[in-house]
Amino acid sequence: MSVLEARDLTVTARMSGIAVPVLREVSFRLGPGRILGVVGESGAGKSMIGRAIAHLLPSGFAITGGSLQFEGRNLTELRHRQRRELLGRAISFIPQGPLSALNPVRTIGRQFDEHLAHLGIRRREERRERALAMLSAARLSDPWRLLERYPHQLSGGMCQRVLIAMAFASNPRLVVADEPTTALDLTIQAHIVELIAQMQQQHATALVFITHDLRLAAHLCDEIMVMYAGRAVEYGPTRAVLSAPAHPYTRCLQLANPAMCPQGRALYLLPEQMPSLRELARMSGCRFAPRCPVATQECLQSEPPIISHAANHWAACIRPQVTLQIVAQPALPGAIPGAIPARSLLQVENLHKRYITARHMLRSATEISAVRNAEFGIAANEFVGLVGESGSGKSTLAKLLLGLEPPSAGRIVLDGEDVTDCSAHARQVRIATVQMVFQDPQSALNPRRRVASIVTQAMEAGRQPAARDERIKRAKALLSDMGLSAELAMRYPAQLSGGQRQRINVARALCKVPKILVADEVVSGLDVSIQAQLLQLLLRLRDEFQFAMLFISHDLSVVRHLCSRVLVMYRGEIVEQGPTEAIFAQPQHAHTRALLSAVPAEY
């Protein structure tokens, strides 16, 4: 018998009076002890499956068709009390944001204890023992001390381990994990996935693993279901789906991920983005057809039926035989291992940054070294990657380069001028030569300015601001450089999609054509197809504008695709630097090796 079975599950949202299907006729079966990966980009409806199971659909959303059965009981028809008995016991959840899922004002011990009390363990000592056993099973050291800690005293990875321990504490028969590693560091990500897999095996639990990362799903899951625009477009055993994808979307997702293999390959560029709910309501035929590289007229006529290929492997595509013919177009070359130019644009010598922590009554002030002895250069037109875990000092180094904070010691030479001190002159040099692209476009764009005003903001600074007409002209030119329509010029950031916002973010930095861009994790929050578009855009813009870039990222495959040289940072120090290929082929430092091994293997 299957643990979870969905039959034609349909979820509909009411948006200003119109009913829009968010999930359409999703069917799958999950056997006991199996792992189902639900994969798709944002807007695909993958989280709706988890929410439908938890009965936590957003207001205005409702299950309008089909059934969702847990061990033969229809979850959609359960009474309130019956559902309460199932959820958190037989079915448990691992959330996306570990920090926000724990109560900040209660200790881990108290929260764990409450959870176990809910499960019906009466005796206090028994609960304590069980909590300790579960925490050590989650490979948390010193579980005794952990029980007295508060969530903010733990790292994100530790919080997630605690939540995993809690999720498995009830010996559930089904666990739903919704993007459990998205908020975590790459190195921790691998450990967490491993832990989930191990706990799943120990408890013989069925697992629904919701993720946007096809590689991660491939690593972990027995079966994969690929979602697009609310519909399951392909379903099958992981090996079959990845070695012979039948739906073009699966194939495109595969090709949009930068490869980790040494020779590298071009990224597949999936045009545009997933249709929004409003657009979906107006579409007919195959929802993927407008972006599909092999679509024909026939695809637009009616929604393709589900076609079986092999036992348990099906896809919603009428021409699956052409899917494998999709290959990445020979796009712009990524990393160009050029000769080391004579003069470097940025030279950093012996740079240090120390912070002094505030003195308390009994504790004397302590010194923290955020950056130690950093030494590197960036040549004109060169893309340099800066990798390391969070807290390794990457962002502090960027702040020092941008003059947002003064260094404690060392020298920064920018375009032949010493800009170590944050003097007025150094500031003028910096404004002309170095700009930054921020990580989070939501926070990086002033919500009260229109796009045209944001991208030409540099022309507003200084004593002689540019005239309005001039700015609008420049804004239109920049938008077309970014591959965006000029219509966006008069919109506000809130009216743009994530990918568009990130392009605006890049456009603003390029307005006055700086010589160096500092890009802090600019693709980490984006879907793979949007990420591939942005990476390609950066390479194209380099040809046009001739700028160098310091590309800060934790994603090694992206760095490998984009950068010709890499700096590896670990605890404030640059432990290794050199040409990308050399470092990735023969990592010298132990930390570089750890970072490389954390990348999910290519399938």
């Binding site: 947002l404 404004i431 700009q435 930054m436 990580q439 926070s443 990086a444 009260r448 507003e460 600074a461």
Partner: protein, 285 residues
């Protein structure tokens, strides 16, 4: 008109609040035209008259007269003048002083923030009414002195609230971006931060107006407010106190006036807060 502004104007609280405020403002502006009598004119032959609609009332004095035979309606209308001038000038003054310091503290931080922050702490440790009474004793009476006292007491409210808002906005990447693009500190504050704090500023301002009306009434009530020959609601209450049993109307009319003015400003402020507050807006959707 932008959609945000028109949505704000459609909310019930804002419409009622703004309507009442405009009504009081018109009374204050047009006082010489609409008041039936001079507010200081005494009719010693007709003192303590009840309102016109009671059996003993006189059509000449719609709301009756006080112990000196002055027309209550006229005094109420002229009192609105005092109240509105104090409400607007004093709260604008407190807002200017407080928000400038709040922006400077929140944006620059450091020693300036520390000094101003401690000054605000010390300032706020005095009960506001006592502080304003002490100030009035020092400054003397008069409309300008009342305004001065309110500004000196209430700037701290703006300073503290805006400082924390500015701290939050300053953390946004777009503020850093503006600096990197070459904006001066002045440009950054006025073009990037102020537009974000403005909704809060407007909301605080309208709430402060309500406070100013109350403070002015208190000061006039204890005789430390406006001069005796100027009409003020607090003063009317003080005068009517002695004749509370003979003619309760004398006491009730200025009290209603104060209640209406204060609730008008509060409704307006609350409505604006709801309209501007993103978190509440998301809940409603």
């Amino acid at each position: 008109m932008s959609p945000a502004v028109s949505a704000t104007l459609r909310s019930g609280r804002v419409v009622i609040g703004l309507g009442l405020v405009l009504f009081l403002g018109m009374c204050a502006l047009l006082a010489p035209l609409i008041a039936p009598h001079d507010p200081a004119e005494q009719n010693l032959l007709s003192i303590l008259l009840p309102p016109a609609w009671s059996p003993d009332g006189n059509q000449e004095f719609p709301f009756g007269t006080d112990s000196l035979g002055r027309c209550i309606l006229s005094r109420l209308i002229y009192g609105a003048r005092t109240a509105m001038v104090v409400a607007i000038v004093a709260s604008l003054g407190a807002m200017l002083l407080g928000s400038i310091l709040g922006h400077v503290c929140g944006y620059f931080g450091g020693i300036v923030d520390w000094v101003v922050g401690r000054a605000v702490d010390v300032w706020m440790s005095f009960p506001p009414v006592i502080l304003s009474l002490v100030l009035m004793v020092g400054l003397g009476t008069g409309l300008d002195k009342v305004i001065m006292a309110i500004i000196l007491v209430d700037w701290t409210r703006f300073c503290r609230v805006l400082r924390s808002e500015v701290l939050v906005v300053t953390q946004r990447d777009y503020v850093t971006a503006a600096r990197l693009l070459g904006f001066t500190h002045w440009q950054t504050i006025t073009r990037e931060i102020l537009p974000a704090t403005l909704p809060l500023l407007i909301t605080l301002l309208s709430l402060e107006m309500a406070v100013a009306v109350v403070v002015e009434a208190i000061l006039s009530f204890v005789g430390l407010g406006v001069r005796a020959d100027e009409a003020a609601w607090g003063q009317m209450i003080a005068d009517a106190r002695q004749y509370i049993y003979q003619s309760p109307w004398n006491l009730l009319f200025p009290m209603f006036a104060i209640i209406i003015a204060v609730s008008a400003f509060n409704l307006l402020g609350d409505g604006l807060r709801r309209a501007f507050d993103v978190r509440l807006a998301q809940l409603a959707r």
